[in-house]
């Protein structure tokens, strides 16, 4: 979407020019046809001092839509500048789940002010949503869904949609509940449109609805929406009463966030919840230093193995030249296996019961890879190191030690790499933390042990 990026860059220049020349009417006309997400980008990328001014140019409804798309620090800044009336106007236009999402990121003083200004009904609902744990389905649901009764006719349903459908987050899927608010079924607005006026909702609805509970992990719920291609997923409380829905757009956001976190954990960073360029230097530093420190200090063991074997190395210094290659190959082999398994775990393709199948697969793959790599390295050592570079220290036994080490290191690395994430998940840890960097450190130390064992056995040093 390069064109769209260029368009935005062009728009940004226009916005800045219009702000400077104080042509506010023209600026408003420029904003009106744009998507809320794009207006949010324009507001944030131009001079912050003008953001409140530009924001106030937007008509009420569009303003609320743009507000939702802003980063939380921009939202906070705007709220702090709002009069109580302005704050109330924005809140009245917001959907409940968006309002809850915004509040979760705000400092306590702002939260109190928001709850104070919200309409009584919204305040009640917000208080309810805010009680759910941060990662639960309950915390991201909206209560603005449309429910029907089994004995309504299609005509009744349309009447209800016309009356209250405007305030709902979606009317594409409608839910059917009994008098105790228990979920009975669901139907789409298309089902209604294609049915006869006096058909009963109870006959049209699909009684087999995928649903989740308020306390389920929100990432699992988002994955379920994706797996079953659903527009929305109903959420029930512990008494099986329908209390809310989660829509596909929020699910997509949750999945995107979870994926970013996986990437970060796999690269030995603590997860951050803000875009890269909007995270401050100190926050980035705080997210990166802990694992670097832990991994640096744990490399002490690798160093100790080298110190212990200092004499063997001194006796055959050529062995030293192959250590980076061995630990690199081991680390890469291990992270291939671990990343493949971590991804399969997060897509729910693999679970603990598959561990033997996974190990058996990786064992065979690693034998194949190990043999090929060892053979290639054997040829390379003889052709390049011995013959081309004329290094007399590269003897056949040395080649043998290096190549056997490659083979065993690859097999060991892949088996450790594939099983650690599964075991981590089993004991309740995040499998992504078991990714490349940790595997690399484990494999580094182990590959040196294998190397020196083979060297002392085969070279007699």
């Amino acid at each position: 979407m390069v064109d769209r990026d260029e368009q935005l860059a062009g728009l940004l220049e226009q916005v800045e020019a219009l702000v400077k020349s104080k042509s506010y009417a023209a600026l408003r006309d420029l904003f009106l046809p744009l998507e809320p997400a794009d207006i949010a980008i324009l507001l944030e990328e131009s001079d912050t001092a003008y953001m409140p001014l530009m924001y106030r140019l937007l008509p009420k409804e569009l303003a609320a839509e743009v507000f939702v798309e802003l980063e939380s620090d921009s939202q906070e800044m705007l709220i702090n500048g709002f009069s109580n009336t302005e704050l109330k106007e924005v809140l009245d236009e917001l959907y409940l789940d968006d309002a809850a999402g915004i509040i979760e990121e705000m400092p306590a003083s702002v939260v109190i002010r928001i709850l104070d200004r919200a309409a009584p009904e919204m305040r009640r609902s917000l208080n309810e949503i805010l009680q759910y744990p941060e990662d639960s389905a309950g915390s991201m649901m909206t209560m603005e869904f449309l429910s029907l009764k089994k004995d309504m006719t299609v005509a009744d349903a349309f009447k209800r949609i016309r009356r209250i459908g405007g305030d709902m987050e979606t009317i594409n899927i409608l839910y059917v509940t009994d008098p105790q608010r228990k979920l009975l079924g669901a139907l789409s607005v298309r089902d209604l449109l294609l049915a006869d006026e006096d058909d009963l909702i109870g006959d049209l609805m699909d009684p087999n609805v995928v649903y989740a509970s308020t306390m389920e992990d929100k990432e699992d719920v988002a994955q379920a929406l994706s797996k079953y291609d659903l527009l929305a997923l109903p959420i029930v409380d512990l008494e099986s009463r329908l209390v809310g829905i989660i829509t596909f757009d929020d699910a997509m956001d949750v999945i995107e966030e979870a994926t970013t976190e996986d990437f970060e954990k796999m690269a030995a960073m603590l997860p951050s919840d803000r875009p890269y360029l909007r995270t401050g230097i100190f926050d980035t530093w705080k997210a990166r230093l802990p694992w670097l420190m832990i991994l640096m200090l744990s490399a002490t063991f690798t160093g100790m193995i080298l110190t212990v074997n200092e004499e063997a190395l001194a006796a055959c210094l050529v062995l030293n030249a192959y250590i980076p290659m061995l630990s690199g190959t081991g680390g890469n082999s291990g992270s291939q296996a671990s990343v493949a398994v971590i991804r399969a775990l997060s897509l729910d393709e693999v679970d603990f019961s598959d561990i033997l199948q996974v190990l058996w697969k990786e064992l065979r793959v690693s034998v194949l890879c190990g043999v090929c790599l060892a053979a290639a390295n054997f040829v390379k050592m003889l052709l390049i190191d011995r013959w081309l570079m004329q290094n007399p220290e590269v003897t056949l036994p040395v080649c043998l030690v290096v190549c056997l080490t490659i083979f065993f290191v690859v097999v060991f690395a892949k088996c450790v790499g594939c099983s650690l994430p599964i075991l981590a998940q089993k004991i309740g840890l995040d499998p992504a933390v078991m990714a490349s960097p940790l595997i690399t450190t484990i494999v580094d130390a182990s590959s040196l042990i294998i190397y020196f064992l083979l060297a002392t056995a085969l070279l007699g040093i």
Copy 2:
């Protein structure tokens, strides 16, 4: 969703028992209330020999929905067992984009048979879709969308929906076109329901529609759907005529696939398009060996640097013990920066114009990290290596060399790590390939050069 997994495992046992006892009516009753995605899993996890039999138990419409959810090898197996009538029945029930997706994975003989059996209109559309490049928006769109005219009334629109809405993939969003099929605007079915019977479509529609062209990259289009929270995105051809739409469920699949590919590339694997446990040993081996081989051979340079500096090492063998820690820390620092930037690139948060801003950020973060790591390591070397382990070789100058190297390596690694992915994207390469393994190899060699330069300068060896 552990419960859902356990449910599935329980169902699988029931299915297998029912198949064995030939209780086909009971089996059918068990399938009926399930989601198509779950039935597909049950079919694939039970004995393959029974798959065609079980598949034939499903009623026509459900059968088609399940068919879409199967892996392509299962689909191929079923198609090969279908009579021509059966094949036609399945095809008639499929949505166009699903049919096109299935065909893309089939061998030529099967493709010909499918096109042969498809209804003439579907065949024409399939041929059109199949002409688009595999990664283009055109190849994943469906032509089954509902278009309206500007001068229709709401009542006309409802008539049209009732007449042809049943065959459309979605009626939640409706598109308005002119007589030349140019896209004029869009409206939701909610807009229709809340409007008066004789309101004109032209007055209700939103003329500012986000759209994409058939030749755009499908990943970009999927990201746009996610960014703008759209249910569907209209696709226009080079003459701006509306030719299809892409729906959110397909967009979610594309994003999931692209993310998996990014993970694979970052872990030095070639992308595979099948789930982990369903990829054969040889396919996995083929995906993993090339990068392992390239990285192993490129580690030759690192080895050469060690060989060249063999004498310096022999003179001060203690230096050797710190090499794994130095290259590990460098590699981890580099991959933190590269993964953060690759993710920001793929979420469109960063592009080439930001390169200086990114470099400046990483430079400051790396100085902070470098200072902390060097200081921690200095303390650790004095306390543990010198005082606790009583290693007399760990002198103050040696500590200084190691700690200075850490500092420079971290700064260098982060700067290389953040800029390579951006440069790669600029010249049209995939930034994900510039991730950890390649960065590690580059940083490995560079860190040794920095190490030996500092050692010769400060230790006089």
